[in-house]
């Protein structure tokens, strides 16, 4: 795994932290690593943390949508957390409101939601 993204296991949930300088190459690796770990750890929940991202452009927006789709196909409920208010406003203006992705304000909110469904 490159330095641009890391995957941790927290309460049977896979936590993905994405950093600011992620590239196309990193994304392919991240998608592969995440999908393999969802299966090998039988994870039912994935949380993607973007608090480190000062901005989300259409490139990163596409990554987030793809990661959510892959996790969903592998039966893991996925939350994007840590979005800054200015990022949310900018994404709406870009026409990228991530319709296929669930969001939560923070990691603890997402974990609570997953626990309530028996997925964490």
């Amino acid at each position: 795994m490159s330095e641009a993204a890391s995957i941790y296991t927290v309460d049977k949930v896979l936590l993905v932290a994405i950093r600011d300088n992620i590239t196309d190459t990193d994304i392919i690796n991240l998608q592969e690593d995440l999908s393999e770990r969802i299966v090998s750890e039988a994870a039912r929940g994935v949380v993607i943390d973007i608090a480190a991202l000062e901005i989300v452009d259409t490139f990163v927006g596409r990554i987030l949508a793809q990661l959510s789709s892959i996790s969903r196909l592998l039966a893991a409920e996925t939350y994007i957390v840590g979005m800054r208010p200015a990022v949310a406003m900018t994404l709406v203006e870009l026409g990228m409101d991530l319709p296929g992705s669930k969001t939560a304000l923070s990691l603890s909110h997402a974990l609570r939601a997953l626990k309530a469904k028996g997925l964490a």
Partner: protein, 135 residues
């Protein structure tokens, strides 16, 4: 393209993907120097990220220059490449139009996020985009 008189405030060569992050950081700092508001900075840096990536992916690389303008105080960037150019700018600015693997929201999205947007492109000669943001 000749915009208003400007003081140079930075320059980033766009040769590889990591340089897009470097361009974002440089513009972010220039906005900080003008005490820009968080939302204005986020909008402008996002727009810069879009066009810097375009220059890399479609233009084969390029250069991003940052300028400070006065009366009123604001930031201008110029992003140029010597790539294939854009045959139909109106079409390229339309959401949903994409020649690569992107979502086709980049160029039109960038224009909506900034206070001034100018684009010049010649087929076979390259593309230059100027964008301005008030702090």
């Amino acid at each position: 393209m000749s915009g208003p008189p400007a003081q140079p405030a930075g320059r980033v060569e766009l040769r590889q993907e990591r340089d897009v992050a470097a361009a974002r950081i440089a513009v972010s700092k220039a906005m900080d120097a003008l005490n820009a508001r968080a939302l204005r900075k986020t909008r402008f840096v996002t727009a810069v990220s879009e066009i810097a990536r375009n220059a890399l992916d479609h233009g084969g690389g390029g250069v991003l220059e940052i300028y400070r303008l006065d009366r009123p105080r604001r930031i201008m960037i110029r992003c140029s490449d010597q790539g294939p150019g854009i045959a139909d700018i109106d079409q390229a600015m339309t959401d949903g139009f994409s020649t690569a693997r992107s979502m086709g929201k980049g160029l039109g999205g960038a224009r909506r996020l900034v206070d001034a947007f100018r684009i010049e492109s010649r087929v076979g000669a390259g593309t230059t985009i100027e964008m301005e943001a008030n702090p």
